[in-house]
């Protein structure tokens, strides 16, 4: 990415790297190509790449063949697929997807009162964690229960640790992060072991990132009418015999 941007002319004035995709979006005034931008500072970081292969094979069509952007730690909208152009500009993309749709609004704003010229253009992600095992509603025997999942950080930050709780966050057990977790901007896989008695339980997981950022307890705390940026604790209910 850095090499391509150098040819496009990195400068102090050009502060956003903008990408054009070959896919067309149907808008109110006709169709247009999907476009999106990320800050130049982010685009020049080593984790941001132009990808033409995945695991040694050409990119599949659905992943953006023949070329796509991969901008980890940023909303997916910045990782433009079916790339046909890269430019540098002094303001973020004015594509309706970015300038209007992917925006966060304060909790007091509703679909009826929204002013789309306001709001925060979504960019860096917040830290998040998910439980993959056990699954919701799984029937388990009382005793040791193994949990597995992944965690991912946003911006240029890394996942530092993951904690799990079976009592709603009163006490926490530290998960083991897989060695090399989070390298190459992949998911950080984790595993934790809890001792659980019989009855109905809800287990939750949360991660902490390298800026000491963690996750909100409930989705209500981060409510916004478009439903974006909800990284509240992931919980799984289970029935222990």
């Amino acid at each position: 990415m850095r090499e391509v941007l150098s040819k496009a002319g990195i400068g102090e004035e050009a502060s956003h790297a903008a990408f054009v995709g070959l896919d067309e979006v149907e808008g109110e005034d006709g169709s247009f190509n999907y476009r999106g931008s990320i800050p130049q500072e982010k685009a020049l970081r080593p984790e941001v790449i132009l990808a033409y292969e995945i695991n040694g094979e050409p990119l599949p069509r659905e992943h953006g063949f023949p070329l796509r952007v991969v901008a980890p730690g940023f909303i997916g909208a910045g990782s433009v697929k079916w790339l046909s152009g890269v430019t540098l500009r002094d303001v973020p993309s004015d594509n309706p997807c970015q300038a209007r749709e992917y925006k966060l609004f304060p909790p007091g704003v509703t679909a009826e009162t929204v002013d789309y010229s306001e709001g925060l253009m979504l960019g860096e992600l917040q830290v998040d964690a998910a439980i993959c095992e056990p699954e919701e509603g799984e029937a388990l025997d009382a005793g040791p229960v193994s949990m597995r999942g992944y965690a991912v950080a946003g911006g240029g930050r890394s996942v530092e640790w993951v904690d799990v709780s079976s009592d709603g966050g009163r006490t926490w057990v530290h998960a083991d992060l897989q060695e090399g977790a989070g390298e190459f901007w992949a998911w950080s896989l984790w595993e934790a072991h809890l001792e659980i008695g019989s009855g109905e339980h809800r287990i939750v997981a949360r991660a902490l990132d390298s800026s000491a950022g963690t996750q909100p307890v409930t989705a209500e705390e981060v409510w916004n009418f478009k439903g974006y940026a909800n990284n509240s604790w992931h919980g799984v209910g289970m029935n222990v015999r």
Copy 2:
């Protein structure tokens, strides 16, 4: 700062800028100079400066005369005062203050079980907001109440908005940010207006940063035995007549 680091030899291997202060810390094995480091990537950002003046006057002694580091968005320990040396190194400072004291531990760790070789070395701050007016316990008349305070973001992030609530976070009123809020890495001053009836009330404030990061509801959620990195909602109780 960038100019000084260039002379020290910025390289790919040297990834931390380390600072020596003239102040001495009393340790178990005698006294030592205070030292601390910040990542080279942070040190090269334009907001990180070497300060010898404040508001046109030489730095006061208590602020680090004759020279200090100012590293906004980072824990204060990185803004080393009474500076006597700058070096580049490939690992963070091993000064006991940084390598042992200013560390965050998971909620399950206590003063009795802590292993100081573990834990997260504190660095980037999280977003935070404080209410300055009204003051705790202030007696007010029912009707419109004006609130004032400040907010500050961490890392390279900015304060996007501040919301206030008088019903424990069920509904929120958007605060006005002072024009130019957050420029030059200063506090973002804000003002909000609530209509409050008579009785006991607790008003809270919270900020949102440019990575869509916000604040935890309670200190319990981010409990750690050293008491660090608590950016939970600031609340003020008041008695409205």
